[in-house]
Symmetry: C2
């Protein structure tokens, strides 16, 4: 089963840093909200309909198919430990809310490399997510659409010819699509341009959030840009709009970095190399501090100051240092101090390539 | 000439970390103030008597002798560049006041390894210093006495049978002897015991100062303990008194370190390893920050947390990162930013053994 592999290693597809603009754009996500006709929305569902829905979706998933469908098998949340569910959150494969449930009538399906993940009975009956590395809005949409089409072959979606796809929350009605891009914007943050960025982006119907979505802080200067509007725009409009804005943000970030490098070369090199020194030497480190330092190292790689670290290693580290991944790696529950120790150990090992 | 070697390398004898208690006691210094009969004290001297004094002392120094006299040749301050005079200050071989003069009638003689240094026409006609590694008060006194005896064979000292050796400043009258010990007391400092230490030490006629003597701050938690009284005590009294007090300070420092290690092992390891990480990665670093971090690393070595650094390397670094040594190493004058860059480079090189 694909999900076991996913749970037992850090790597999933979006970490490979192979997509376009991978220096600044970590990943692109497209998510489609879908509901079945004639069945109440999840928050109104009883056991019998929950069970029925799980069965329908399990049956709709293609078996033994290759490509993006490989390994895509529906698992009940009750089959997964709380730790494993949190691991899926840390990898950005399911939502924190979904992970809190251990209902047998809620489920998750993840393909072989995590590029496709489906939540069943979260806010909607179906949330189809496609998550790729770098800036790949079109490609991610294409994959999501492929999964969507495949499911629609055997499922009857709730669709209104005027309103589009019907969803549990009215903000998703229409395309039911949310696209988002995870960006690393250290220079924009260091030069205090984030607030004006947020304002500009809002004018295009987009919103800026922290790393783990709504209500989370922007640690390590990682930001999520996503569309707000799902109604009255085609999928193509949404995609083009997001891509156009993100490319501008990326260009501005590059421009600001070069400015910093020109104006305060030594100070910037110093900051980046010190962050690397702390990461590779600390005996214990919190998640927040580590993210901030990893952000510096990442910028150092982009600017050619740190040449000996691989970008995929850094993407994996962002997730490997989270509590659930740490505890999975240690094979036991750990208190915060134990986690800080383990985190320092893993960072040192991954960055230097040396086992402690 | 011995002094050329001394000026062209960092190492002098006190840095070898071979003396007793070298983990906590960096070095021991014994200095004798002597003046010649019938000649005015230096602050009252004219050119003719200055010249006469230089000649007398040059003649009194033994030629081609081995042992501690090797290389001991009198050089006028006017023969040395301001940079070279500062280098001698940074190595603790002459006083900052002496280094400010470029008079041909003031001089310095340093033996082959810097364990003996003589200042001529500083505050007194002669200041004979012996400087050894670790806690070697007896040995340092023995060496100073040997040099003193040798000079007295041909010089007529100003000596009063009731008051002892006469000196320019009344605080030195009597034995004319000042002994001091350079200590590294991070645990005493971290646990805020320094003030009570200073009070206790004062009761024994001793005083605590920063690294470069009177009026200098205690950077990097290095402290100098020295005798205040020169009159009414024999040399043996002074030596025994200092030794007894220093041994107690050393024991207390060790006790406090073990306490820290027991109560906050991970935090202490973390602090020490982070300091090492900063020292080996920073692109630029000030002298003060470096001393603080080197102090951590030194404690880490003493506690077995850092096992791959040599104590002599660390002693040399304390001096190699000072402005004059940096500029000598670079072969040019440097502004503060250039020094911070060069300092970081040298620290990295010495600690990791890798040329940049």
């Amino acid at each position: 089963m694909g999900i076991t592999d996913i749970l037992n290693r850090t790597y999933v597809s979006w970490m490979d840093a192979a997509g376009p603009e991978s220096d600044i754009v970590i990943s692109t996500r497209v998510r489609l909200a879908r509901n079945l006709n004639q069945l109440p929305f999840p928050h109104l569902t009883d056991e019998a309909t929950g069970k029925q829905l799980m069965q329908k979706i399990r049956a709709a998933l293609p078996e033994n198919e290759e490509g993006i469908f490989r390994g895509l098998e529906l698992v009940s949340l009750s089959q997964l430990s709380p730790l494993d569910r949190t691991i899926l959150v840390e990898k950005h494969l399911i939502s924190p809310e979904h992970a809190e449930s251990n209902s047998p009538y809620r489920g998750v399906a993840v393909n072989y490399d995590g590029s496709v993940a489906i939540m069943v009975n979260e806010e909607d009956h179906l949330r189809i997510q496609c998550l790729l590395s770098g800036l790949q809005v079109n490609q991610a949409y294409k994959y999501a659409q492929t999964v969507d089409d495949k499911l629609e072959e055997s499922l009857d979606y709730a669709f209104d010819s005027r309103r589009g796809y019907l969803t549990a929350c009215p903000t998703n009605v229409g395309t039911g699509m949310r696209t988002s891009v995870m960006l690393h914007l250290p220079a924009t943050a260091m030069t205090n341009q984030i607030n004006s960025l947020i304002q500009n982006v809002t004018q295009f119907g987009l919103t800026v959030r922290g790393m783990y979505g709504e209500g989370t802080e922007a640690t390590g200067r990682f930001y999520q840009v996503s569309n707000q509007v799902t109604l009255g725009q085609t999928e193509e409009d949404i995609i083009n709009n997001l891509w156009t804005v993100v490319i501008q943000i990326v260009e501005q970030e590059r421009y600001l970095r070069n400015g910093l490098l020109k104006e305060m070369k030594f100070q910037l090199e110093d900051r980046i190399l010190r962050s690397y020194g702390l990461l590779t030497n600390a005996r214990m480190i919190t998640s927040n501090e580590a993210l901030g330092l990893l952000s510096d190292v990442r910028m150092g790689m982009d600017l050619g100051i740190i040449t000996w670290v691989n970008r995929q290693v850094l993407n994996e580290l962002i997730v490997a240092i989270k509590p659930a991944h740490l505890q999975k790696a240690a094979g036991k529950e750990m208190d915060p101090v134990e986690r800080d120790l383990k985190r320092a150990e893993i960072i040192k090992e991954k960055l230097t390539g040396k086992k402690q």
